[in-house]
Amino acid sequence: MTKNILSVDDSASIRQMVSFTLEKEGYGVIEASDGNDALARIQTKMIDLVITDLHMPNMDGIGLIKALRADSQYRFTPIVMLTTESNSSKKDEGRRAGATGWIVKPFKPEQLVAVVKKLIG
């Protein structure tokens, strides 16, 4: 069965890159432009993994992670944060909110695929 991934980022080019890379590997990708949009999307389709940027309007990444973890359906769903900071404060904040892992931008497509495979196979 196809695994579905939610890609959340306010940058269309990032969303496109994520879609393109992961669809090639056989995953289904749904895009959302910020936290609110993401929460709306998960009502209509079952998601197996969430990849989210941290800096977004309306509801940012940390807010989204917290909201997902509070939702009984998504409490154990893997969530990956996309971050450009290589220092630990944002990573820790994300992890405390319940994120599973992170990818530092800029990333190569292979790195994205490796992390996705690690988290949902």
Binding site: S11, M17, H55, G98, G101, P106, K117
Partner: protein, 709 residues
């Protein structure tokens, strides 16, 4: 232009115009958090996406600006007119960089640098390392160790109870480790609470993984990169491939090593005499799974070491003269036969003791037979190695450049098969070098690399071995072959043939399309000899080719020549065995069929017309024909022919006996086998029978028959 770049460019231009709007507004409302966030995010996206899509100059430039606005967000800097003007100038520069990419205008480097400097000055003094260096991506690449140096690690993965809460699936991590090499994994379940007290959302299990791999230890650590804070990981080297001491640590040592027991426990237990593992469990010092895990580790290392030893030097092997082995197999074969008689006899005696003994004898002799068969199996690698020299010499002589590779050298075959393979393979390789692979000039002209490649591979497939010779040369030209065949009178001009059938024409005697007969090949004594050679011991030849791309010749060979799986049939009181590999099905030859066929020997099986041959007639067997007969339908190379017999008894597996000098050249029979009651049963050579009975004649049957139904 690339689609991703295009999207980025559009997005970037949009972002810039939004930025400008926001900047102008924030000058009026410098405390508006929303506006500041917008500006920060725009810079953040320009930087992040810029780096991803190769706009490194934009990424670097915006990095500084983003950092400054981060400070603004955290109230460490305030927005003022100067900052806004500076940022607006920066936007102009970014636009220029985007324009340059589209082929318009230029970028003023010095302007860019001075703006950057101005931004840098704004950063509060005490935080100069705010501008972190190049963003680090992953910690280690996954470069495989060049030398393939294998090390065995003991990895202990002990998740904290809250592991699942951040969405981790530990099983996937174990799978990642499994992919690194040979491994044994033990799960520790002793900490799982009673069902009443269990908390389903918490993790109470941990794992020990013994892994032998050539990957670096950092790669192993990287598997756990996301769970470092929520689990305990320990990775220890416990064995290295080239350290060959005496036996690996004993169980007690391993447990002590791991910290599962104390020295006192170890000494206390050692002073008693029972099995170490049991005693540890009994004493309560450790529990079952810990001992099991240590045992697994010990076993794993032993297996790895044994492997290293056997693949390394050959001091533990012994040379045996072929005829000694043959006589062993012979004797084993006779034993198996006599044992079958014993079983038959004991069934009639209804003596339970005798039956028990007979069963035991059967078990042992079957084991002995399998063992003896196994001894005859040898890896084909030694044969492959001989060819390297051949290829080198031939390619030099013929002026071709060849890259010769082999695959599956460890595939095992019966030694007799290997011996018989030698000549045919030499011939096939010669063909590939001589006729297949083109000269370097011709290859370059055809857009191919000047060096051609020939690959020899061996692989098990069901009850057979497939050996193939593949070249990336000129391939077979169906038209040329057909023309030549017509020329040589092998086929008539108006016959319609499929591409496969045309390719098979090259196997006909006297066929050769080589323009020049070289001293190496081209005399037309080749392929047909190869084929009859291969078929003589139950193999078959397949050809596949693509013009201009290359050719692959595949030999399908039986795994062993000593034993046959056959279908036992009777004709006129005599027994015959038809190799099971060729049998497709058995049907009854009814009066109805005979009537409908009007004297021709064809039968209709479902939608297919199958020609058949009366073995009784072919073998001139006397005696009366039974009213109902059976057709055994066999298939070779997609052609089906039926053989009419009196009765089909069933499956029968026995040792093949050679016919001996006197009967060796009888056509249609490839060997004999002795039945349980001592009777002799002849093994039919289906290939030859196809030919003997005039397969062309039966082809005509097929064509004409189509009009009948």
């Amino acid at each position: 232009m690339d689609i991703p770049n295009q999207v980025y460019l559009e997005e970037a231009y949009e972002l810039l115009s939004e930025l400008e709007d926001a900047l102008i507004e924030v000058e009026q409302r410098p405390d508006d958090k929303d506006l500041i966030d917008r500006i920060f995010r725009a810079m953040h996206t320009l930087k992040g996406s810029g780096a991803m899509f190769g706009f490194n100059d934009i990424a670097e430039f915006t990095h500084t600006i983003e950092t400054v606005y981060d400070y603004v967000r955290e109230y460490k800097l305030t927005v003022n007119k100067y900052l806004v003007s500076l940022t607006l100038s920066a936007c102009d520069q970014i636009k220029a960089m985007l324009d340059v990419f589209q082929g318009r205008g230029t970028v003023d480097e010095s302007e860019v640098n001075s703006i950057t400097d101005e931004f840098l000055k704004l950063i509060p003094g005490d935080d100069e390392n705010a501008l972190s260096g190049p963003i680090d991506s992953s910690r280690s690449g996954s470069n495989k160790d060049e030398g393939g140096h294998k090390v065995t690690y003991r990895i202990r993965f002990i998740p904290h109870e809250n592991l699942f809460k951040n969405g981790t699936n530990p099983l996937l991590l174990l799978n990642e480790l499994r992919a690194f090499g040979e491994n044994r994994i033990i799960c520790h379940i002793q900490n799982i609470p009673d069902l009443r007290d269990i908390k389903p959302e918490s993790c109470f299990v941990s794992w020990d993984i013994i892994l032998t791999t050539s990957r670096e230890i950092n790669e192993i650590r990287d598997v756990f990169i996301f769970v470092e804070g929520i689990s305990d990981i320990s990775i220890d080297v416990i064995d290295e491939a080239d350290i060959e001491e005496q036996d690996y640590k004993r169980i007690g040592e391993i447990l002590f090593d791991r910290g599962d027991i104390t020295l006192k426990d170890l000494e206390l237990i050692l002073s008693k005499q029972k099995l170490i593992g049991e005693m540890f469990v009994e004493s309560g010092a450790v529990d079952q799974t810990q001992v099991a895990s240590a045992l697994v580790e010990q076993e794993h290392i032993r297996t790895i070491r044994k492997k290293n030893r056997t693949t390394g030097d050959n001091t533990s092997s012994i040379r045996v003269a072929s005829d000694k082995l043959d006589s062993l197999v012979n004797l084993v074969g006779e034993l198996v036969t006599v044992q079958a008689r014993l079983i038959q006899f004991s069934a009639t005696q209804k003596n339970p003791d005798l039956t028990a003994i007979a069963e035991e004898v059967k078990r042992l002799s079957t084991g002995l037979r399998d063992n003896a068969m196994g001894i005859r199996m040898m890896p084909i690698g030694t044969t492959f190695a001989k060819f390297k020299r051949l290829v080198r010499d031939l390619s030099t002589e013929l002026g071709k450049e060849i890259n010769f590779t082999t695959e599956g050298a460890e595939t095992e075959l019966d030694k007799t098969v290997i011996e018989k393979l030698g000549d045919p393979l030499i011939h096939l390789i010669r063909n590939s070098i001589d006729h297949g692979v083109e000269s370097p000039d011709m290859r370059t002209a055809a857009g191919k690399p000047p060096q051609g490649s020939i690959r020899l591979s061996a692989v098990h497939s069901g009850a057979s071995v497939l050996i193939s010779v593949h070249d990336d040369g000129a391939g077979l030209d169906a038209d040329v072959i057909k023309a030549k065949a017509i020329d040589k009178g092998i086929i008539s001009p108006d016959v319609a043939l499929s591409e496969k059938e045309i390719f098979e024409l090259i196997l006909a005697p006297g066929f050769s399309t080589a323009q020049n007969v070289t001293c190496v090949s081209g005399r037309g004594v080749g392929m047909d000899v190869v084929v009859s050679n291969i078929e003589s011991f139950g193999g078959s030849v397949f050809i596949s080719s693509k013009k201009g791309l290359g050719t692959t010749i595949t030999l399908k060979l039986p795994l062993t020549l000593a034993i046959i799986d056959g279908l036992l049939v009777t004709i006129g009181g005599d027994y015959f065995v038809i190799p099971l590999g060729t049998v497709v099905e058995c049907v009854e030859l009814s009066k109805e069929d005979k009537r409908r066929a009007h004297g021709r020997h064809i039968a209709r099986v479902r939608e297919e017309i199958i020609p058949y041959i009366y073995l009784r007639k072919l073998f001139c067997i006397n005696g009366s024909q039974p009213k109902i007969e059976q057709i055994v339908i066999t298939e070779i190379n997609d052609r089906r022919v039926g053989f009419v017999v009196d009765n089909v008894i069933g499956q029968h597996q026995t040792v093949i006996k050679n016919l001996g000098k006197v009967l060796k050249n009888v056509e249609g029979v490839s060997g004999a086998t002795i039945m349980g009651d001592g009777a002799v049963s002849l093994i039919l050579d289906i290939n030859k029978l196809f030919l003997l009975a005039g397969i062309d004649e039966s082809k005509n049957f097929t064509e004409k028959a189509v009009g009948m139904y």
